[in-house]
């Protein structure tokens, strides 16, 4: 029995490219990876938004209204619902004049217990050190 930890680092802004959405959908896919592995083996996914990537976490996105597309916000809520760890870099939020009040913090409407953590970069660096592999989006 073993666990491999993947760190998904999202540094690109939303909607300009497909990268942030692919980061989220790949991280969410960690929930069904067991079918390829032996019993007891796991691959886990931790998500961190840094740099311009913190803009993915803004509340009240209108992608569905304007483009008929699932918003990045909705994908973040799905990640929380599936108990993935979601971190947002505090310093990078502040660089945009944003705070915890501006970002998706929970998915209570889906019954999620997990919440988004706005953390100093040092905590994200720790997560990266603890990961077996890092995937930058």
């Amino acid at each position: 029995m073993a666990t491999v930890k993947l760190g998904f680092i999202v540094q690109r802004p939303p909607y300009k490219s497909e990268n942030p959405k692919l980061a989220l959908t790949h991280a969410i896919a960690s929930q069904s990876v067991e079918m390829y592995l032996n019993d007891g083996d796991l691959v886990t996914a931790d998500l961190a938004f840094v740099g311009d990537g913190v803009l993915n976490c803004l509340k009240n996105q209108k992608a569905m209204d304007k483009y008929g597309l699932t918003s990045t916000e909705s994908h973040i809520k799905s990640a929380l619902m599936l108990d993935l760890s979601v971190m947002v870099c505090k310093e990078d939020l502040e660089r945009f004049g944003l705070s915890e009040d501006d970002v998706v913090l929970d998915a209570e409407e889906f019954g999620a217990d997990m919440v988004t953590k706005v953390v100093p970069y040092s905590e994200i660096a720790k997560m990266m050190e603890d990961s077996n592999h890092l995937l930058f989006f």
């Binding site: 073993a2 896919a29 592995l37 083996d41 691959v43 996914a45 592999h133 890092l134 989006f137």
Partner: protein, 119 residues
């Protein structure tokens, strides 16, 4: 010998990242390593068969088929391919199509994961 998992999300045309990733896979296989290769997003363009070679555009069908014959596993994200109109019947021989969990599962026993993001 080790196992290398490569994920590449860049398109066949418009970026040289896939060219680099396929060359790297070839070098690893020549050294006796096992290679799993995942394409997602615009990278699924690599999976289309009957690519026509032009000198001005990347053409990777031939090297990919040669690497598959040498044991490389190569898989395209099925949803990403379908969203772009790349259907199963247009997929290059030797290319598999799976959901994203295939990539994550491949990382489980990989010695190194090289993830090359999209454009």
């Amino acid at each position: 010998m080790g196992k290398l998992t490569i994920g590449c999300f860049s398109s066949l045309i418009g970026s040289m990242s896939l060219d680099f990733a396929v060359k790297l896979a070839g070098a690893a296989i020549e050294k006796g390593h096992k290679v799993d290769f995942w394409v997602s997003g615009n990278g699924t363009m690599l999976s289309i068969k009957a690519q026509r070679p032009f000198k001005d555009y990347s053409f990777l069908e031939k090297p990919v088929k040669e690497l598959v014959a040498k044991g490389m596993q190569i898989t395209a994200c099925e949803a990403c391919a379908e969203a772009r109109g790349y259907h199963k019947e247009e997929t290059m021989e030797g290319f598999k199509r799976h959901s994203m969990d295939w990539y994550l599962a491949s990382t489980f026993d990989a010695d190194r994961v090289l993830h090359i993001g999209g454009e």
